[in-house]
Amino acid sequence: MSEYETFMEEKNKIDSYFDKGYQVISIFENLSGTFVDFVTGEEAIEREVVQIQLLTAEARKYIATKLLFVS
């Protein structure tokens, strides 16, 4: 898969979580890339946390751009 296709997959995941109302609660970066934790639900008992790993540089830019200007 090309770098671009990988990016598009990662971008689609990011967009879909935002579209479903998830919010970013945590970001962790290390040698393996960027790990973004999304959470949904207001009540603690309903809360669902999902983590995605961003491998591409474009996606690591994209998530920050979304946080800066969109969310």
Partner: protein, 421 residues
């Protein structure tokens, strides 16, 4: 006709083109011929205790048929007594009162030595002084030149000693043989410098003869490192000028030096913050008459831009020079091949495939004719293909309309910091 006169820290000259302190300014005969040719100023070859030179002093790098892409020398400062130089400076200034004559000076880092030479030189009548804290070879082994120019405390102290007695503007010439030239530039400012000039030459060994195993150049079978200059060093010098120009603590004029060979080079240095430029290698390669094209070219450029005075050009590109962390990560350019111009040499494909991001495809059209096409979605806009392309206009780097707002690395890090656990 634009006004080419400059005023660099109080030193006025009819144009921004000065000869740098070097072999072309060794004598009154040479400097007077240079002024006749059109040079606006000259920094006299460095005065100090007369030295002894070796023979075999210069060497040059040729690259792909271009002679003197880089130039190396192991020549020291003046080998003539101070009185001889001062007499010729006096005669030259008398003949050319409106041209700038700056005396380059180098003595041991002692207060009384600096006071003595400054007084004697200023008594004869010069427009300014340039302290040579940059010469990397020979004199540095004796504690002068780059040896003192690499120590910020010595730069500041010696500048201060000169300023104690100097009546004319003092330019401090800096060595590039240091990790961060802004540190020594700031030291010069702290010492009271009226201006800085940069760069002096870069430590270098031009080569090794593969038959004799002698260095190039060699002196009876032995070599020593020299100072590198000429077109090859221009990008290094331009960066150092830019770094100093955008540093708010270095709030004095800059005289730009380093590989300036034509009016375009000069204009680039001026745009990047230099009030004037100094030239050596190009004059050594082509003679003093090159200044005619420099003057004409700069004049025409200013006229085309509608700029009345070259002083209005100084530093115009400095606000555009920044830290990497302040560059827009969402700005995007991609390569686009113009197949009407492309000669299908495949150099772009090879460079991209082997050493970049594998996004130039070799394809065939319906008639079986080969052509190259960039997969723009995979292109990172590195410019490599357009750099290696031998045909002008065959590859354009095209801006892609930004779909996302600008975001710098620093902004990114600042934003995600609040999410870091």
């Amino acid at each position: 006709m634009a006004d080419l006169q400059i005023n660099l820290a109080g030193i006025k000259s009819p144009n921004p083109f000065w000869l740098a302190s070097a072999p072309p300014t060794n004598s009154g005969y040479q400097v007077q011929r240079a002024f006749e040719a059109g040079w606006g100023g000259a920094v006299w070859k460095t005065l100090g205790d007369p030295i002894i030179n070796t023979t075999a002093r210069f060497a040059a790098a040729s690259f792909n048929g271009k002679k003197v892409a880089g130039f190396n020398n192991i020549e020291l400062i003046t080998d003539r007594p101070l009185e001889v130089n001062l007499k010729e400076i006096y005669e030259t200034k008398k003949r050319f009162p409106n041209h700038a004559i700056i005396a380059s000076l180098m003595v041991e880092p002692k207060q009384e030595k600096w006071h003595e030479i400054v007084k004697r030189v200023e008594d004869i009548g010069v427009d300014g002084l340039e302290l040579n804290f940059g010469c990397p070879h020979g004199m540095a082994e004796r504690g002068m030149g780059a040896a003192s120019g690499q120590v910020p405390e010595l730069v500041e102290k010696q500048t201060y000693w000169v300023k104690e007695v100097a009546k004319t503007p003092v330019i401090v010439k800096l060595t590039p043989n240091i990790t961060d030239i802004t540190v020594t530039a700031e030291a010069a400012v702290c010492g009271g410098a009226d201006a800085v000039s940069m760069i002096n030459t870069i430590n270098s060994l031009m080569g090794v003869d593969l038959d004799s195993w002698n260095t190039v150049p060699h002196v009876a079978g032995k070599g020593a490192h020299g100072g590198y200059c000429g077109p090859a060093v221009k990008p290094i010098a331009l960066n150092m000028v830019g770094e100093c120009a955008r540093n708010p603590l270095i709030d004095i004029p800059i005289s730009g030096i380093g590989g300036i060979s034509n009016w375009k080079d000069a204009a680039e240095f001026i745009l990047m913050g230099a009030t004037g430029v100094q030239v050596c290698t190009a004059a050594m390669h082509h003679g003093f008459s090159i200044v005619e094209d420099m003057i004409d070219g700069l004049n025409n450029y200013l006229d085309e831009k509608g700029i009345a005075s070259v002083m209005d050009l100084v530093g115009k590109s400095v606000p555009k020079y920044s830290n990497w962390g302040d560059l827009d990560l969402n700005y995007k350019v991609v390569a686009r091949i113009n197949n009407d111009v492309c000669i299908n040499c495949n150099k772009c494909h090879i460079s991209c495939e082997d050493t970049s991001h594998q996004c130039i495809d070799m394809l065939k059209d319906a008639t079986g004719k080969s052509y190259l096409k960039v997969r723009e979605e995979d292109c990172v806009g590195c410019n490599l293909c357009s750099i290696v392309c031998p045909v002008d206009g065959a590859i354009d780097m095209v801006e892609i309309k930004q779909t996302l707002p600008s975001m710098t690395w620093n902004e990114r890090q600042s934003r995600i910091a609040s999410f870091m656990t």
